[in-house]
């Protein structure tokens, strides 16, 4: 089954129609999705700023990551759940949305960046944990992460303009 067919099938399920036609539930989910940004991206940005060596320079990097990542992860879970519901409410519109596609691609890259960071330079965190400004590879990971989340926020916001610009 193609992705398009899958979205078409999803759009015709009763849950999707109910969510699409709901007066308040959809807006509540949308509000949760946007406001959780402050928790998820907020803590992620603070971690990235530490990796770049521009914030909390006297706090060991492993402590910043160890204490803030659970909050970021919990925020991400809420973002993904509410995001999945927003997708479910209008699968075909999302599927056709250029900005949605860019956002999902960037999300995959951002998560890949986190995974690579954990698998490589973070393995040797003991060597640079107390450095005010961490080594180049760490700063690249932090900077890349900031850029990708900024891009994800941008494309997420731009999804509202698909019709306005292209249809």
């Amino acid at each position: 089954m193609s992705l398009f067919r899958l979205c078409e099938w999803l759009a015709n399920t009763s849950g999707s129609i109910a969510l699409h036609e709901s007066r308040y539930v959809f807006l509540v989910v949308l509000t949760v999705h946007v406001l959780t940004l402050a928790v998820f991206a907020g803590t992620a940005v603070m971690i990235d700023l530490r990796l770049l060596g521009v914030a909390m320079m006297r706090v060991p990097a492993s402590e910043v990551i160890g204490r803030l990542l659970p909050w970021s992860g919990a925020g991400l879970l809420v973002m993904m759940t509410s995001g999945a519901l927003l997708f479910y409410a209008a699968p075909l519109a999302r599927y056709e949305n250029v900005f949605f596609r860019m956002k999902m691609a960037a999300l995959a890259l951002a998560l890949l960046n986190v995974w690579l960071f954990q698998r490589t330079v973070y393995r040797r965190v003991g060597e640079w944990d107390a450095d005010a400004v961490p080594p180049g590879a760490v700063r690249v990971a932090g900077g890349l992460s900031l850029l990708l989340w900024a891009f994800i926020i941008t494309t997420g916001r731009m999804m509202a303009y698909q019709d306005y610009w292209f249809n």
Binding site: L27, T31, A38, A41, L68
Partner: protein
């Protein structure tokens, strides 16, 4: 009087141009959201610490000195982009109760942050979080949540 001013701002040539542009408003709105991430992160850093969560091994005062610098930067971004967004549809916001709730909560939380919250942070001993610290964190988080909710609400069509 205020309504007159809103109307004048909204229909002044630069704001008419901004409304007419298909790209300017979305970009300013996006930068406003990026500011939310920075403000959210720096507020949480200190408030979680006051609640005995997050970076709880760090002295609050040291953490706050750093976090408040980022809070200020985030606020500069949010307020300046927020003013632009407001000016685009000033007369619409003038009539929205939630806009005034948001502004009142914003003024309240800024006043609270630079007075009560700052005093508690500077007097905080670190280690076990005092009840006053927890209360300050809860008030701060409640006010910021009101600001954010107001922001989302006034954006609905």
């Amino acid at each position: 009087m205020l309504l007159e001013l809103c109307r004048w701002v909204q229909y002044s040539p630069p704001l008419v141009a901004m409304r007419g542009s298909p790209i300017l408003f979305p970009i300013v709105a996006t930068i406003h959201l990026m500011g939310l991430a920075v403000v959210g992160g720096s507020v949480l850093l200190v408030d979680l610490r006051l609640l005995g969560l997050g970076l709880r091994r760090q002295p609050v005062a040291v953490l706050a000195r750093d976090a408040d610098r980022w809070l200020f930067r985030g606020l500069v971004v949010m307020v300046s982009t927020g003013i632009l967004l407001f000016m685009c549809f000033a007369t619409k916001y003038y009539y929205l109760t939630f806009f005034w709730v948001k502004m009142a909560a914003l003024c309240a939380v800024i006043a609270f942050t630079v007075s009560v919250r700052r005093r508690i942070i500077m007097g905080h001993e670190g280690g076990v979080s005092a009840a006053s610290g927890r209360l300050v964190a809860l008030v701060s988080l409640a006010l910021w949540t009101t600001v954010a909710l107001g922001g989302r609400y006034i954006g609905f069509p």
